[in-house]
């Protein structure tokens, strides 16, 4: 048996010992322990070093409010720093290490920082290291960074995975203490859909740690019976190990720990699950956190919240000290004296700052020395508490102790009520912030509402549970009236004991002392929000649960204000730490966004294609062949194959929108800058779409298959945006137009078939029944033709400048079609090509694409000014007339070629007059796209150059300081290949 484990009592299983290790030392706990309770049971006091001064620290609490006992859990990539020992369930093989110490917990070199503590006061980093400034980056910042921070990350990717889930209910209950259990059971019995959250692994809250009775049975037994009944109700879901961390509009966020308590993680099991919970009504029954008292040396290991000591004794059967004193301003503190007496270790003294104590409370201490109207001035000791100095009517007295239970009052855990901007109010009777105005559909029960006794908690739960059920149309028969054991609740005002010699900590986690608060005030930071930021009070993992109110009270006294006048800081989610991975869920790495695959993807994979992400799509970028060592080699081959024979490219990813109805022509005239109402059936036309501000939004072809049957295409990347734009235009701007539209991108698999042999290949595939002669199917024709069991759509359009077609079939036939095209073209040397070859050929042909349609160009910039109709109105027409957009000095599309063959051009290079300095005032535009042209044998580029078209033949400088490029280039016509357009017409 461990040194401080009690022989009887508690909710631990003495038949199930559990081996674990702390700083490499093997220890044994019991099933039902937390890491903290197992450490207490083993008599371990010193568990960590503090953030700033590296002072020795022990366990303070028994719950998620723990500011001190932060440990590193796990090894290697699984290491998680800043894990609160009070929330870690013990499991076999648990391996934890203390943090913030070097070389060891007992001997920590940086603890010498305590000697320099005058330099480390609040705001020290703003002041102490100001001079000489030159040392900041070289010395001060690295030194501070090395010393700062809580714990350390593994530096490795998170090996665990996470998932998300969504649930809906009539009543969400946060916290399964007496109020929460009462609410859940009342509503559950009435048939309402209930979700009950509990951050602990066991339900019951304080019932697990207190000696109390409900309906004649011990509180823990009652909790177990309620849990058993809830488990039988199909309409109730219990989520234990689940912490609510935020209240959002209409939703509560919570994180469920699924495997953190398991020695061996089952395969496929996520570590944590992030819940989004939507409830008609939420009952916050999160209880209250006991408040420490600020006095000299109040951080010594062995000083603990009084209620936490009761948890260790009565829930975990672990004795937090053999000679403990109680320092209290509440009735509740006296119950800890009783708990120690029952455990066979009577306390050394009870010190209460109040004088009037009711007899029943006074009796809890039995015959131990009691000091009323007294305070603990100082706690004495090094790595563990050895004595306290008490000041009172008797003067000063030193009492030898190894532990001190502290009770300064209770802070209702109402952070969730403030997440949407609501503020709590200060209660002078409860000496606590209590909920005031509340968010819609949220109510607060029990201790969280400042109703601290067991009877009040049960009554609140029953009342609010019944109300929620009633609102859900499931009236509760008769709310249960549970009979609870009597208890008193009283608290006196005691936040701070002045005059001690030792450092008096307000915030243990951030090492903020009473002097830091005073200094903050002295320097003018008297707003509570300024105090927080200047001193870091209330930040970090505990979010000030134990420190905020004491800090406020000291600030209030120093500034001569009341606590309500001082105000409180507003809590923001998350209420407790949540792993970033939980927010990502499954969406990490390649699954960050969904991936879209074309019907021909599997075929392209078989061909060894290299893929590129284009929006969510994966597109074949090039198809390397054996022996090719460089992407450029593959791309050059693909371009040459197209220009000399025939190639196939999957263009299924381009957006396709079907438009129908009698008014499509009018609609298209308004959304495109060029005219479409004149487009005949059986024809396709290139269109340019402007934004309302006159800039180019997207381009593509629209084909007309029937009187009221159009197909509009968009670029791959803008498909969603254009669909949204068209829907907006129709639904908001011109609802009077009789137009119907829907995306059919997914319906069709589409392939470009390009090159002088493209017609021969298609004729082979379609057979002789289809006439593809230039007379029957000229440039810009479109039509639908039978192809095997289906109908194919054929478009004679070209992006490469060659004779080219696009053939589309229902996507289910896409895989078969590309295989048929490859088989049919074998004798023609058909070659698959990817997006790189596609880009090379469009640059050779001077077609604009994403690099030029970049949201900053108008049609005129792209040499497309003549497309802008003067005979009709359209979106963007008026704004495109602005003078600045028609300034001849605007950079305008040109072609560029190096004056020295072999020089590589790079997109992004800026244009400068030759001889001019490389400065912003000489900048005349930039290179948008470049490619090695296999047809010309040298690099070419497209660019936007001020007064570009006037300057053809001129030489300019293309300057690329980022990649060290600096070349003289000649301004040329952007159409490098076949400027007459003979090839495309065949």
């Amino acid at each position: 048996m461990s040194s401080h484990r009690l022989g009887t009592g508690g909710l631990v299983d003495r038949q199930t010992p559990i081996g674990f290790s702390f700083d490499g030392r093997p220890l044994t706990g019991l099933a039902g322990d937390t890491l903290a309770s197992a450490l207490v049971a083993n008599g371990i006091r010193l568990v960590g070093r503090s953030f700033k001064y590296h002072r020795p620290r022990g366990i303070v609490s028994a719950g998620p409010e723990e500011p001190n006992a932060l440990v590193e859990k796990g090894r290697g990539a699984y290491r998680e720093p800043n894990t609160r020992a009070t929330t870690v369930e013990l499991y076999p093989g648990l391996d934890v290490a203390s943090q913030n110490r070097w070389p060891s917990l007992r001997f920590d070199v940086q603890a010498i920082g305590q000697l320099a503590s005058p330099l480390l006061a609040a705001g020290f980093y703003y002041k102490t290291f100001m001079w000489p400034a030159a040392l900041w980056e070289r010395l001060y910042e690295p030194a501070i960074r090395r010393a700062a921070g809580l714990g350390s990350l593994s530096g490795a990717p998170d090996p665990d995975f996470y998932e998300k889930a969504y649930a809906f209910c009539d009543l969400l209950v946060i916290g399964a203490g007496p109020a929460g259990l009462a609410a859940a059971l009342t509503a559950g019995r009435a048939g309402a859909r209930v979700i009950l959250l509990e951050q602990d692994f066991a339900l019951g809250g304080r019932l697990l740690a207190e000696r109390c009775e409900i309906d004649g049975m011990p509180g823990a037994v009652w909790a177990r019976e309620v849990e058993a009944e809830l488990a039988t109700l199909a309409n109730v879901r219990i989520l234990s190990r689940t912490a609510a961390f935020g209240l959002y509009d209409g939703e509560v966020g919570a994180v469920e720990r699924l495997t953190d308590h398991l020695a061996v993680t089952p395969a496929c099991m996520p570590r944590q699950r992030l819940w989004t919970l939507v409830a008609a009504q939420t009952v916050l029954a999160a209880g209250a956190v006991e408040r420490p008292i600020v006095f000299g040396g109040n951080d010594r290991p062995g000083i603990m919240l009084a209620s936490a000591m009761r948890s260790y004794i009565q829930r975990f059967a672990a004795l937090p000290g053999r000679s403990v004193a109680v320092f209290t301003a509440t009735d509740d503190g006296w119950r800890t004296a009783e708990a120690f007496a029952r455990a066979g270790a009577p306390v050394a003294a009870v010190i209460d700052s109040r004088r009037d104590i009711v007899a029943s409370v006074r009796a809890l201490a039995g015959d131990v020395p009691v000091f009323l109207g007294a305070r603990v001035l100082d706690a004495i000791g090094g790595q563990s508490l050895s004595a306290i100095e008490v000041i009172g009517d008797h003067g000063r007295r030193r009492i030898a102790v190894d532990g001190l239970a502290v009770s300064g009052g209770f802070n209702p855990d109402l952070a969730m009520t403030t997440h949407l901007g609501h503020k709590p109010r200060w209660s002078e009777t409860s000496l606590a912030f209590l909920p005031d105005a509340l968010p819609a559909h949220l109510v607060v029960a029990g201790a969280a509402a400042g109703r601290f006794t067991l009877a009040e908690a049960l009554a609140d739960g029953a009342r609010l549970g019944a109300a929620a059920a009633g609102m859900a149309g499931k009236p509760a028969a008769a709310p249960p009236a549970w009979r609870a054991s009597d208890e008193t609740f009283a608290v006196g005002p005691l936040f701070h004991v002045e005059g001690g010699r030792g450092k008096a900590f307000v915030d243990l986690q951030n090492d903020v002392t009473d002097k830091d608060v005073a200094q903050s005030v002295h320097e003018g930071f008297v707003s509570v929000e300024h105090l927080k930021r200047y001193t870091t009070l209330g930040m970090a993992t505990d979010q000030g649960r134990t420190s905020n109110v004491n800090g406020l009270a000291i600030l209030a006294r120093l500034t001569g204000r009341t606590i309500p006048e001082t105000g409180s800081t507003r809590a923001r989610p998350p209420h407790g730490p949540v792993a970033i991975g939980a927010f990502a869920g499954l969406h990490t790495g390649p699954h960050f966004k969904p991936t879209r695959l074309t019907a021909g993807h599997g075929w392209a994979e078989e061909q060894g294609a290299v893929f590129v992400e284009t929006g969510q799509w994966l597109r074949a970028q090039w198809f390397p062949r054996p022996g090719e060592t460089d992407w450029l080699e593959s791309v050059t081959r693909e371009v040459q194959a197209v220009r000399s024979g025939v190639g196939i490219c999957d263009v299924s990813t381009l957006g396709k929108i079907a438009l129908a109805g009698p008014d499509v022509g009018v609609f298209l005239d308004r959304v495109y800058c060029n005219t479409f109402s004149t487009l005949p059936v059986g024809k396709a036309r290139y269109g340019l779409m402007l934004r309302e501000d006159g800039f180019v939004m997207d381009d593509g072809t629209t084909a007309r298959f029937g009187a009221e049957d159009y197909l509009l295409s968009t670029t791959t990347v803008n498909a969603g945006k254009v669909m949204q734009h068209l829907a907006f235009c129709h639904q908001v701007l011109w609802p009077e137009l009789d137009v119907q539209m829907v995306s059919v991108t997914e319906q069709w698999a589409q392939f470009a078939v390009a090159g002088p042999q493209s017609r021969a290949l298609l004729q082979q595939v379609f057979g002789s029944a289809v006439d593809l002669s230039d007379a029957a199917f000229p440039y810009l024709a479109c039509g639908a033709f039978p192809l095997g069991p289906t109908m194919a759509r054929l478009f004679r359009i070209s992006f490469s400048g060659e004779r080219a077609y696009e053939i589309a079939v229902p996507a289910g036939y896409g895989d078969a079609l590309v295989r048929a095209l490859m088989a049919g073209g074998r004798d023609l040397g058909v070659t698959p090509y990817g997006t790189e070859a596609l880009a090379v050929m469009r640059i050779e042909k001077g077609h604009v694409a994403g690099a030029e349609l970049n949201g900053q160009t108008v049609a005129r910039d792209l040499g497309l000014g003549r497309m802008m109709s003067t005979k009709k109105d359209y979106i963007g027409r008026l704004m495109a007339e602005r003078a600045a957009l028609n300034d001849p000095d605007r950079p305008t599309l040109v072609g560029l070629k190096p004056t020295v063959p072999g020089v590589r051009l790079r997109a992004g290079a800026h244009f400068l007059p030759i001889g001019a300095a490389a400065s912003a005032e000489n900048d005349q535009g930039y290179m948008t796209s470049t490619a090695f042209s296999p047809s010309l044998g040298h690099w070419i580029g497209l660019g936007l150059l001020a007064r570009g078209p006037e300057r053809i033949g001129e030489q300019i400088r293309a300057y690329d300081p980022i990649r060290g490029g600096d070349a003289v280039v000649e301004v040329v016509n952007p159409v490098f290949i076949d400027p007459e357009g003979n090839r495309v017409h065949g």
Binding site: F161, E163, K164, A165, Y166, A167, F168, R193, P266, C268, M269, T276, V278, L586, H587, H591, K593, P594, T595, R596, L597, T598, A599, G602, W617, A658, A660, G661, E708, P735, E736, L737, D738, V739, Q740, M741, V742, V744, T745, E746, Q747, W748, A749, V765, F766, G767, L787, G788, P789, T790, V809, P810, A811, G812, Y813, D815, A816, L817, A820, G824
Partner: protein, 194 residues
Amino acid sequence: MADLVHRGGYAGLGRRVGSGDGVVAVEQAGLAAATVIARRGKAEAAAARLGGHLGLAVADAAKRAVSPAATVLGTGPGTWLVFGGEDPGFVAGLAAALAGLAAVIDQSDGQAVLHLSGARLPEALEKGVRIDLDPARFTPEDVAVTSIAHIGVTLWKIDAAPTFAVALPRSYAGSFRHWLEASAGPAGLAVVSD
């Protein structure tokens, strides 16, 4: 003349077939499907004609109407996603019946459809569906246009078992499978596709 073989949206994604103790997913390949959008001001007439043509009662609402031959899903004002069987003339028949009242646009190959069932289905759906699927709130008469794992889906309920159907753009089938395997895999998932 090419002889083309048809493939469903889930084909070629690998046959990972598990126990099926928790969830069974069966691909519904080869169904005819069309988006039907009423002409301006003709939603009621189109609903009536659509219902008359298919022999069921169609509402202009997010509701499902079903007959042995067809399923009509309200997916927006005056808009329906209509599934038929494997009859290749189904969409043309719809278009003819609705001439002048609605646009009928073939989506037979655009949608990948799975039927999902199994004892652990509700908990798997809960990991992706952000709407309330409680049997009292979402019935076989209801249709939802929503998203799962950032993928836009049309979701409906076939029976109270419950069996759900999920239709989504076919290019997302692989990513949907990833979500399904992660969400239903631990419970035991079987996927049946060609």
